[in-house]
C-alpha cells in the first residue's frame, strides 16, 4: 500500500492532479462559505447543471475539444440560467425553489439532447465529452490541471481581497450601502466566483455533483465556528481534504468516478462535524446539556 502510494506520488501527472484537486477544493470551500450564508446553495446547483449545454455548444461551434472554448460556453449558459431564475421569480408567481428545479432539469435535459446530437453528427474526437457529467480526473491532461490550479489560486485571491466587502454586504446590505460599498457589484462578483468554480470544477467533479463541493465543506465548517473568516478558511481546508482524498481513492481503485468520491469524502467530514462540531455538533450539544 505504502509502496503503491509512493509510486503514485512519483508520477508527475498524478502530482498535478493532486495539486489541482487540492486547490480546487480549497477555493470552492472558501467561496461556498459566502454562498451558504447568502442562502444560494441550490442556485449554485442550477448553475452547475446549466453548464452542460454550454460545453456542448462550445464544442459544436468550434468543433474541437479545447478546454478554454468549452469552459467559456459553460460560463455563458450558467450565467443565462441564473438570470432566467431571477426572471421567473420576479415576473410570475412561481417560487424560487420551483424556478431552480425548472432550470436544472430543462437545461440539463437540453444538454443531454445536444450531447446525443454531437455523438450522432460529429465523428471527430468527440469522445470524452460525457466525462463532464460525472467528472474524470484520469482524463485530465497536464495543461488542464494547470488551468484548474491557476484559476483556483486567482479565485481564492479575489475572495480574500474582497473579504470584508463580501462579509458586510451579506450580513447587512443596508449598512453596506450606507458606508459606500457597492452591494450590487459585490453580489455580481460573488456570482462570477461561483461560475468560476463551476467552470473549472466540472471536468474533475462533473456538473451533477460540483455544487456539493460548494455546499458541503462550508456547511461542515459552520458546525465548528461562528466567525466568518475562520469558517471560510476551515471550509477551504475541508474542501481541499475532500478533493485530495477523492482524487487519490479514485486513482488507486480503478473505475471509481472521481466526482462522487470527492463528494463522499466531503460528506464524511460533514457527518463528523454534525456529530462533534465545537459550536453546534449534536454530541457536543448533548454533553453541554448535561
Amino acid at each position: 500500500m505504502v509502496d503503491f502510494i509512493s509510486s503514485l506520488l512519483g508520477s508527475a501527472n498524478f502530482r498535478w492532479v493532486l495539486t489541482g484537486s487540492l486547490l480546487l477544493g480549497f477555493a470552492s470551500g472558501m467561496i461556498g462559505s459566502f454562498v451558504l450564508l447568502k442562502k444560494q446553495s441550490l442556485i449554485s446547483d442550477a448553475m452547475a447543471h446549466a453548464a452542460l449545454p454550454g460545453v456542448c455548444i462550445g464544442f459544436m461551434i468550434f468543433q474541437e475539444k479545447s478546454l478554454p472554448v468549452l469552459l467559456i460556453g459553460a460560463a455563458l449558459t450558467s450565467l443565462i440560467a441564473t438570470h432566467l431564475i431571477q426572471l421567473i421569480v420576479n415576473h410570475s408567481r412561481i417560487k424560487s425553489d420551483a424556478a431552480i428545479g425548472i432550470i436544472i432539469s430543462v437545461f440539463f435535459g437540453f444538454g443531454i439532447v445536444l450531447l446525443t446530437f454531437i455523438q450522432q453528427n460529429f465523428t471527430s474526437n468527440q469522445a470524452g465529452l460525457d466525462s463532464f457529467i460525472f467528472g474524470q480526473a484520469a482524463s485530465l491532461i497536464r495543461s488542464d490541471v494547470q488551468l484548474i490550479a491557476v484559476s483556483s489560486i486567482i479565485l481564492v485571491f479575489i475572495s480574500t481581497l474582497c473579504f470584508k466587502e463580501f462579509k458586510i454586504s451579506i450580513f447587512d446590505p443596508s449598512f453596506a450601502k450606507n458606508i459606500g460599498i457597492n452591494v450590487k457589484f459585490f453580489n455580481g462578483l460573488l456570482l462570477a466566483l461561483v461560475v468560476g468554480i463551476v467552470v473549472i470544477g466540472i471536468q474533475m467533479v462533473g456538473v451533477v455533483l460540483i455544487a456539493s463541493l460548494l455546499i458541503t465543506p462550508a456547511l461542515a465548517a459552520r458546525y465548528w465556528t461562528d466567525n466568518l473568516s475562520v469558517m471560510a478558511w476551515l471550509g477551504g481546508i475541508f474542501g481541499s481534504i475532500s478533493g485530495m482524498t477523492g482524487a487519490i481513492s479514485s486513482t488507486m481503485i480503478g473505475d471509481l468516478p472521481t466526482g462522487p468520491m470527492i463528494v463522499l469524502s466531503a460528506s464524511v467530514i460533514f457527518f463528523i462535524s454534525l456529530l462533534l462540531g465545537k459550536s453546534k455538533g449534536l454530541v457536543t450539544k448533548a454533553v453541554k446539556v448535561r
Binding site: I94, G109, A211, P257
Partner: protein, 294 residues
C-alpha cells in the same frame, strides 16, 4: 403492439404519473425535495440490487420508497437542527446520490445498471423488457410499474383529497381541525418515491425531475383551482412526452432529454402567454389600464 407504441405509452405514463404527483409538490413549495428524491432513489435501487442480486420490480419499489422517505426525513432533521433548508437538501441528496454512483461502479458489468443509465435512462429498451408469466409475455415491465404507481397516486389523491387540499393552502387551519400534517407529508413523499422509481428505469433521474416540477409549475401559471392544476399538470406532462418523442425521432437524439426540453418549452409558453399570469397579457392589461387612467 408495435415498438414505437410502447415507447410513446411509457413516455405518456411518466408524464401523467409524475405530473400529477409533482403538481402537489409545486403547490406546497417543495419542488426541490422532488429533485432530491429523484436523485437518491438511485441508492435505493442499488441497495435493492445488493440485497436481492436482481433488478426486480418489487424490491426496487421498496428500496426506492425507503430511501425516498429517508431523504425526506434527513432533510427535515437537518432543517430542524438549524441548517437552512436549501443547504440541507443540497447536502443530503448529493451525499446519497454520490454513494449510489460509487456503489454502482462496484457492481461492474454483470447487470444493466450504470451511471449514465441512471441519469438519462434508456427508454428505447423499454419494449424488450417484458413481464413474463409462465412463458407468456404481458407487455413491458416499465408500463406495468408506471400503471401501478399512477393508480396508487390517483387512489391516494381521491381518498385524501380534502386533507391534502387543506394542508396545502392553510396548514394552520388544517392542523386546528385535526388533519395529521406529518402523515400527509410522508404520504406525498411515498407517492413521489413510487412515481420516481417507476419512471427512473426508463427515463432516468433528470427527466423525472423535469416531469415532477415543470408541468406542475406550468399548470400553476394556467389555473387557480386545485383540481384543475392537478389535471392540467398531468396533461402538460403527457403533451411534453408526445412532443419530445416527435423531436427526438426527428433529430435522432436522446428521447428522455428532448422530453425534458419540451417541458421547458411548454413552461416558457405558459410563462409568456398564460391568460391570467403570463407576462405578455399582464403587460397588455397594464397598458390598457394606463390608457383608462388617462
Amino acid at each position: 403492439m408495435s415498438y414505437t407504441f410502447w415507447i410513446i405509452l411509457t413516455g405518456c405514463l411518466v408524464g401523467l404519473t409524475c405530473g400529477i404527483a409533482g403538481s402537489l409538490l409545486v403547490l406546497r413549495k417543495m419542488s426541490m425535495i422532488a429533485d432530491a428524491i429523484s436523485h437518491t432513489v438511485l441508492l435505493g435501487i442499488v441497495g435493492a440490487f445488493f440485497v436481492t442480486q436482481s433488478l426486480n420490480g418489487i424490491p426496487m419499489l421498496i428500496g426506492a420508497a425507503v430511501v425516498g422517505l429517508l431523504t425526506a426525513y434527513l432533510v427535515e432533521l437537518l432543517s430542524n437542527s438549524g441548517v437552512q433548508s436549501d443547504a440541507s437538501i443540497g447536502v443530503v441528496f448529493t451525499s446519497l446520490f454520490a454513494l449510489g454512483v460509487v456503489l454502482i461502479s462496484f457492481i461492474g458489468d454483470q447487470v444493466h445498471l450504470d451511471t449514465k443509465h441512471a441519469l438519462m435512462g434508456e427508454i428505447a429498451f423499454v419494449p424488450w423488457d417484458t413481464l413474463q408469466i409462465n412463458g407468456e409475455s404481458y407487455g413491458p415491465v416499465a408500463v406495468w410499474m408506471l400503471g401501478f404507481s399512477l393508480l396508487f397516486n390517483i387512489l391516494l389523491i381521491t381518498l385524501f383529497y380534502k386533507q391534502i387540499k387543506m394542508s396545502t393552502f392553510d396548514p394552520q387551519f388544517a392542523a386546528l381541525v385535526g388533519i395529521p400534517l406529518t402523515f400527509i407529508h410522508y404520504l406525498l413523499m411515498t407517492m413521489v418515491s413510487f412515481s420516481t422509481v417507476a419512471s427512473f428505469n426508463s427515463v432516468g433521474a433528470i427527466l423525472v425531475v423535469a416531469m415532477l416540477i415543470v408541468p406542475g409549475a406550468t399548470a400553476y401559471l394556467l389555473s387557480d383551482r386545485f383540481l384543475h392544476v392537478i389535471i392540467l399538470s398531468g396533461a402538460v406532462g403527457v403533451l411534453s412526452a408526445l412532443l419530445g418523442y416527435l423531436c427526438a425521432s426527428f433529430f435522432n437524439v436522446s428521447i428522455a432529454g428532448s422530453m425534458a426540453t419540451m417541458t421547458g418549452v411548454l413552461f416558457s409558453l405558459a410563462f409568456l402567454f398564460s391568460p391570467k399570469h403570463g407576462i405578455v397579457f399582464k403587460k397588455i392589461n397594464s397598458g390598457y389600464e394606463a390608457i383608462k387612467v388617462k
